[in-house]
Amino acid sequence: VRCQHYPPLRALQASAALRRVSDEHKKEPFTSSSQQQFDPHPAGHQPEQEPQGPHPSYTGQGGQESEDYESEEQLQRRILTAALEFVPEHGWTAEAIAEGAKTLGLSVAAAGMFHSDGSDLILHFVSECNAKLSELLEKEQKLVQLGEAEKKPTDEFLRDAVEARLRMLIPYIEKWPQALSVLLLPRNIPSSLSLLTSLIDDIWHYAGDQSTDFNWYTRRAVLTGIYNTTELVMLQDSSPDFEDTWRFLENRVADAMNMSNTASQVQSTGEAVVQGLMGAAVTVSNVETLRPEL
């Protein structure tokens, strides 16, 4: 019973902030007939909705996943993206999210949808950066496949990928230590760790890593170590255009390449990773003590 009267009630109330996804479907999606005969709209439509039945993909909230309105998740992502521009001023906080919501014409109370420590904003930013990097690497790969570019040697490829990814932090570099400390909170570690591993996997995938043996783990560990340590160096780098950081990166990648040629590969990799983590822990704890001033 509830199923049937939900759709007209929701759509006719014309959701205050969830906007229509596609402008082509100008007509009201539900013509307030009591019989809910669901007609699949022709184009620009979510493919998973079946044509039969009164209301497919019923989500328990009565149709906010319906065709012409964006979902809550999409609205949340829009708010977070708008909030990024306020991060240099307010930091990775609920205030930045509130300002972002304001620019979209929403009340500042909308920031209450997210966790108050700003972790949602940071995780959104990280996943957006990772997506951008994937796009970049995909484009480069296409060029190589079309023969318009040379395939780079592994060390150069890794260097460029890590540099490109780290450069995305530059506009937010002042507040980034704060973000890192939030990402290291126990609550956030599962999400931040999974984003990190998928980033590393991506880079190795485009680097042409075809191995399925135990090398897979060591390569991931090595690159994770390189990425993390370079990120930390970048936070404390004051050289013009971060040249010190890129030089550090170059050296680490070279070390890694050399290491892979020795027989005691696994052991030294383990040591390197442990040293990298120790260094990271020390740096983060130093940054933590600076935190009250940020």
Binding site: L9, R10, Q13, S15, A16, A17, L18, Q61, G62, Q64, E72, L75, A94, E95, A98, A101, L104, G105, L106, S107, V108, A109, A110, A111, G112, M113, S116, E293
Partner: protein, 261 residues
């Protein structure tokens, strides 16, 4: 309902403290903390008679604003003394950052007590007191950032109307927060709670406020109130999104939250 609160108004705060053994303060603090308002928020507190939520909101916003100003000043490292002085002056007149609370209650007596309390505690700016019915609010559409109703919604005859009004007066993106007694699912605790409610509370009512019947009514209205999931469904029906609830003290009290999206 009106008469219950007329007689209860003056002793309201004292009764709250004794009935809940003072925990109601924690519950209300938690509500404002969950709201996490930033300066510039416009709050409507319905059935907020004696102003508990309103005062907490003002305190919270004031401290957030102070921290904001401190951070701003820290950034301005090279200002001259003159400029720092001017900064302080203009911000002193804006200690609330344009935040405002409107306290709305159906009962004049409760509002009177609230106004007296405000004067006594020294709250002057950012507060308004309005007489109104939750089922038919005397405000325009899309006005408020946050709508709260703390321990008031069970006294509304048509809850769905109150929810619809809440939806109407909130801005897009605005938040609905409801703090109310709810259902305890733990059976052992539920028995203890029943014992306490039916044996102790009316007695306290008689002793402290001289009114057994009102508090008997109170306890019964708590039992009749819809449980968490049902209230969540009603809030969704009114049009709110991302509706969720949080149990405090194993369900003795629950905070429901929804957004007008």
């Amino acid at each position: 309902v009106y008469q219950v609160f007329e007689s209860v108004a003056k002793k309201y705060d004292v009764m709250n403290d004794s009935m809940t053994l003072g925990i109601h303060r924690v519950w209300k603090d938690f509500l404002v903390h969950k709201m996490n308002p930033c300066p510039g928020t416009l709050l409507l507190d319905v059935a907020g008679g004696t102003g508990d939520i309103a005062f907490r909101f003002i305190n919270y916003v004031r401290s957030v604003r102070e921290r904001q100003l401190q951070r701003k000043l820290k950034q301005h490292q090279n200002l001259s003394w003159q400029e720092i002085f001017e900064n302080y002056q203009e911000d002193k007149c804006n200690s609330l950052g344009d935040s405002q609370v409107v306290v709305c209650d159906i009962n004049r007596e409760m509002l009177k007590v609230g106004k007296q309390k405000a004067q006594h505690l020294g709250y002057s700016e950012g507060l308004s007191w309005v007489l109104g019915n939750a089922e038919e609010l005397p405000f325009d559409d899309d006005k408020f950032d946050v709508y709260t109703i703390a321990f008031g919604i069970r006294n509304v005859t048509r809850i769905d109307l109150a929810l619809q009004e809440a939806y109407r007066v909130l801005k897009p993106g605005g938040r609905f927060l409801c703090l109310e007694f709810s259902h305890v699912s733990n059976p052992l605790l539920s028995r203890l709670y029943d014992l306490y409610s039916f044996q102790v509370i009316p007695v306290l009512g008689e002793v402290i406020a001289g009114d057994w019947r009102s508090y008997q009514y109170l306890v019964e209205s708590i039992r009749q109130f819809p449980p968490q999931e049902e209230l969540k469904a009603m809030i969704e029906d009114a049009g709110f999104f991302k509706v969720d609830y949080e149990n405090l003290n194993f369900g003795i009290v629950a905070i429901h939250s929804g957004f007008k999206l």
